[in-house]
Every structure is written in structure tokens, then in C-alpha cells.
Point group: C2
Chain length 318, copies 2
């Protein structure tokens, strides 16, 4: 296939680009480098099947032109900053909702019929059903980020129905691994480099979250595209386990061989709109035949090792 990857210089996007190239596909990465990094595409740029276009998904003309000739869109470009959503509510609207509309319109103008989309488990809000399956009770949104991803899911589904497209919507837990540039492992590691004696933790350390290692995530995405054949395929992607923030701190400090004093902000939420328990029921993708190879602990350690070997990323994202 000729794949078009928005957010192609980002954490998940650049790993997907490498993965698709390794499978022999032609790839166009489209990224405005606002949070994506050109370093992440160093390997890809040496590849003859690869094109990089530095532009914004909000630039509709450029986007439509860039997409011409592609036959599959992986739409990963997004504002992924969940925590500070209420500081700048227009970001989720612009970079998630309107951006996704632009991607769908560019597909329509180019006659491209297939789209994979990175949604989120945050979309379930504070659901009462845990682990949470895809058809759990209609949730109430608790974050602007989740709400914007919900808006995107809805548009993609309606475009599939209205214009005969086919969609794969992936509701991710947090993804970990190489090129990870934000999230709790990043934050903790950065803080511990500054001061290995003390670690300040948002919330009470008991927030329960699930994580998935990037290579398992990519394997699941590509497996699902080959095996899920409905017009709209909505799939949770995660591991079949969860950990508490304190567990993760344990993995990290053990690996770094330090014993910082832990100071908790308190409260069961890390921030307004934070969900104290995210754990997805992934039976649907398991039944299709895809299972992750790495545990959460292995994912945390691999992330940490990559950060240790790529400390430039800590400066870049100060």
C-alpha cells in the first residue's frame, strides 16, 4: 500500500513509519514538527519508499495535495496533552476535531477510502464497567481531550456510512516505548535526573492505569487492519493487566537503583479530568487473534532505557 501517516514524526507515528517501510510499503509522513521530531525519521529518510512533508493538518490545501495517490491514511496527528486541556480548550477542537474533519475531507477529495485512527481509552470517561469493553454503557466525557477524540470517532464513523469509507478506530491505553516524549515515565525520569533524592507525585499514587508497548501497539494495528472487515471497526488496544502509579515508580527506581523520598500531592486524581482507573477489556482484538508480547513492566523498562540513551529528548521537551 501507499500509506499516508499524519503525525508521522511523532512517537507512535514515526515508529509506524519505520514498521510500514520494513514491511515494504510506500510511506508519506505528514507532520508540522510542533511536537514530532525530525530525528525520529532519520532511518526513514534513508529509505527510497519514504517521503516527508512538513506541514499542518489545519492547512487543508497542503493536506489535500500531499495525500494525492495514497490509498490508506493513518491519522495520528493530535494534541495529546490530556492534562492541560482546560488551559487551552481550543487546542483539542482545532488539532483533534477540526484536523480530523480536514483529513476526512482530503480523503474524500482524493477518493481514499481507508482510515486508521488513534483514539483513546479516555473516551470512556469514568465508566462504571471495568475492564471496559467497546460497547460499554454510553459514557459521559470528563476531559476535553476525550471529548475531542469522541468527536473524531463520530465523524469517521459517519463518513464511513455516508461516503462508503472503511475505518479502524483504536482506543489506546497509554503507549510506552522508544521515542516516548511525554507521560508519567518521561516526567518521573526527568525529575529523578534533576533530584534522585525526592519525587513529587500527582494524586495519591494509587491511580490504576494500563499501558501498552509501542511494538505491540503497531502489531495490533496492522493485524486489525488485515482481519477486522466491518465498515467501522472499533477496537480497544491495551494489555490484560493494569498497574498503580506506585508500581511504576517501583519499576523505575529499581531500574535506576535509587530510593527517592516520595511526596504525594494527594487526592485520587492526578489532575482535573484525570481518570483514577483506566483498564480496557481487549477481548475483541484477542478474539481476532492479536496478543501483546510485552508486559507493562517490560514496557516501562524499555521506555526508561531509551530515555537513558536519548537524553537530548529531555532537553528538547523541557
Amino acid at each position: 500500500m501507499k500509506a499516508f501517516v499524519t503525525g508521522g514524526a511523532g512517537f507512535i507515528g514515526s515508529n509506524l513509519v519505520d514498521h510500514l517501510l520494513s514491511l515494504g510499503h510506500e510511506v508519506v509522513a505528514y507532520d508540522n514538527l510542533s511536537t514530532g521530531m525530525s530525528n525520529f525519521l532519520t532511518d526513514a529518510t534513508n529509505h527510497s519508499h519514504f517521503t516527508f512533508i512538513e506541514n499542518d493538518v489545519l492547512n487543508t490545501n497542503a493536506l489535500t495535495q500531499a495525500m494525492a495517490g495514497s490509498d490508506f491514511v493513518f491519522h495520528l496527528a493530535a494534541n495529546a496533552d490530556v492534562r492541560f486541556g482546560t488551559d487551552h480548550p481550543e487546542k483539542d477542537l482545532q488539532q483533534n476535531t477540526i484536523a480530523t474533519f480536514n483529513v476526512l475531507e482530503a480523503m474524500r477529495h482524493n477518493g481514499i477510502k481507508k482510515i486508521a485512527f488513534s483514539s483513546t481509552g479516555s473516551i470512556y470517561g469514568e465508566t462504571s464497567v471495568i475492564p471496559t469493553p467497546e460497547d460499554s454503557p454510553f459514557p459521559i466525557q470528563t476531559s476535553l481531550y476525550g471529548a475531542s477524540k469522541l468527536a473524531c470517532e463520530g465523524m469517521i464513523s459517519a463518513y464511513c456510512e455516508g461516503y462508503g469509507m472503511q475505518g479502524w478506530i483504536f482506543r489506546f491505553v497509554s503507549i510506552l516505548g522508544e521515542r516516548y516524549t511525554h507521560g508519567h515515565v518521561f516526567d518521573f525520569y526527568k525529575k529523578l535526573l534533576d533530584n534522585p533524592e525526592e519525587l513529587f507525585v500527582l494524586g495519591n499514587g494509587k491511580q490504576k492505569k494500563s499501558y501498552l508497548y509501542i511494538q505491540d501497539c503497531l502489531d495490533a494495528i496492522l493485524f486489525a487492519i488485515d482481519h477486522a472487515k466491518a465498515p467501522v471497526n472499533i477496537l480497544n488496544l491495551g494489555t490484560d493487566e493494569y498497574i498503580e502509579v506506585d508500581d511504576s515508580i517501583g519499576f523505575i527506581t529499581k531500574h535506576l537503583n535509587i530510593q527517592p523520598e516520595l511526596k504525594y500531592a494527594g487526592g485520587e486524581r492526578g489532575w482535573i479530568g484525570d481518570n483514577p482507573f483506566i483498564f480496557l477489556d481487549c477481548s475483541k482484538i484477542r478474539q481476532l487473534g492479536s496478543t501483546p508480547k510485552f508486559s507493562i513492566e517490560q514496557g516501562v523498562i524499555r521506555t526508561l532505557e531509551w530515555l537513558q540513551n536519548n537524553q537530548w529528548v529531555l532537553e528538547r521537551r523541557a
Copy 2:
């Protein structure tokens, strides 16, 4: 209260304006008159507690200024054209999703904390659970209209969580009654005036839908605002019955005393994205204590009588 009503010159909006004025509230109606009609506000404009502002919800400065001093927002302005959504997909994005973001931002800037919102039963897509309760399985969107209302619901809920607002989200069935200016009763009556011998019907006439009479709708909205006290209150509004399109044709032709030949386009859907069976479970609002007074048949007849007495509206919306 001082109520701010977007879409205040529309079908539901203008009836709400009159209703609120009759209860002694101060009312500001905001409408761009693109589908709303100034005639609908004739009674209101004679009222000392009423102000009309002709402007667009997409004009953020005007909207923010107009809202100053109000303490409750009824956000009814919307593109309500479900059927032709795929002809102009940007309309639902602009007039529903972005417009609602603008309303929420204008509220935030003015420190207004309460919003009632007109959502839709279309949001349930083609759910497998009928009658459909508010917490039915997470649906897949089938129309751009439903998807845009879902986006609005999500933003409103996230604003309530993030900024301490309180929201009442009403998922309507189709509303009927005085000042009704689009929908099947309008279309059928208009066609039958042109040619009482023949009626062309989209779909097979067996589509099952539920309807609610406008005064029952307004009573339910105001009742819910007084009695539902959660931060986010999501409520289906409908009658506890449904009819088939053929039933409605029967009510209409009997009332008009004509016997047209019925010609069906065929198929179980009236159009792409049409839902062949909409019937909401309204137990939640019933348990609060609100029950409609009018049957669907009574609603259809009252709508028809109003159209007969206001034939100018048929010309205006040719």
C-alpha cells in the same frame, strides 16, 4: 432567571422564548435568521423582558458580548438538516460542533455556569437496544448530524467537569407542533397541497419513529432543569409510543379528508444515514416526574392545523 436562547427565532427556540417570558423570566434571543423567522418572535417583541439580537453563533465577539449578564444558556441554534448532511459535511462541523464550542467559551468568559442543550436520538445510531435508554451500549454514529451532536455533548460534559459548569443535555425524538418548519409532516402537507391525488414517500413507509409535541417538550426541559441536579444531566425526551410513517400519512390524509395514491421509493431507509427505528426509553425523565400530555397523533394534527393556518411558511421554506 435571565435566559439566553441561541436559535431563539427557530421552531423550538421561539416557543421556548414565549414559554420563558410567560413564566416571568427575562429573555435574550440570539439568532442569525438563516432558518429562524422574525415572525415567530412577534409576541415576544411586545414584551418588556425580551431582547432580540440578530447575529451568528460563529461570530464569537458578538456572541460573547450578547451573553453578558445572562445566567442560563439554552443552546438550540444548530444545523438540523439530518437528511442532506453528506451534501455539505462542513455545515454540521461549523454550525453544530464549532458553534457549541463558541457558546461554551462565551459562557466561560462571562462566568455563566448553566447550559441546556438540544441533542438528538440520532446520536444512538442504529442501536440494537430499543427502546433506547441514555446508558445504552456506546453507539456507532451513522449520520454527520448525530456525530456533530455527539461532539457537542462531549464538549459540554467536559466543560462541566473542567470548569464547574452544570449541563442538561436533552436527546430529542423529532419535535412537532406550532412553528414546525421542516420534517415529514411539513413535507407531506406541502406535497399534498400541490397534488392531493398522489404522495411520494421516501423509504417503504415502515420506518418507525417517535415524536414529541413542542409544549410537552418545553414542559419537560423546564421540569428537568428544576429537578435534575447532577453536574451533567443527560435525558431522553420523547413519548412512550412510536408510529410508522404510514400511520402518520393516515393521520394527515384523514384530517385533510383526501385519499392520495401512495408511491414508495422503497428500501427500509428514507435516505443514507436514516435510522429505520427510533424509539427512546424515557424512564429517566418519567421517574423525575415529567410525562407528556399529548399523543403522537395529537401532535401531528396540531402541527397540521398550524400549517393550515400559516401557509406563508410553506412559501418561505420552498
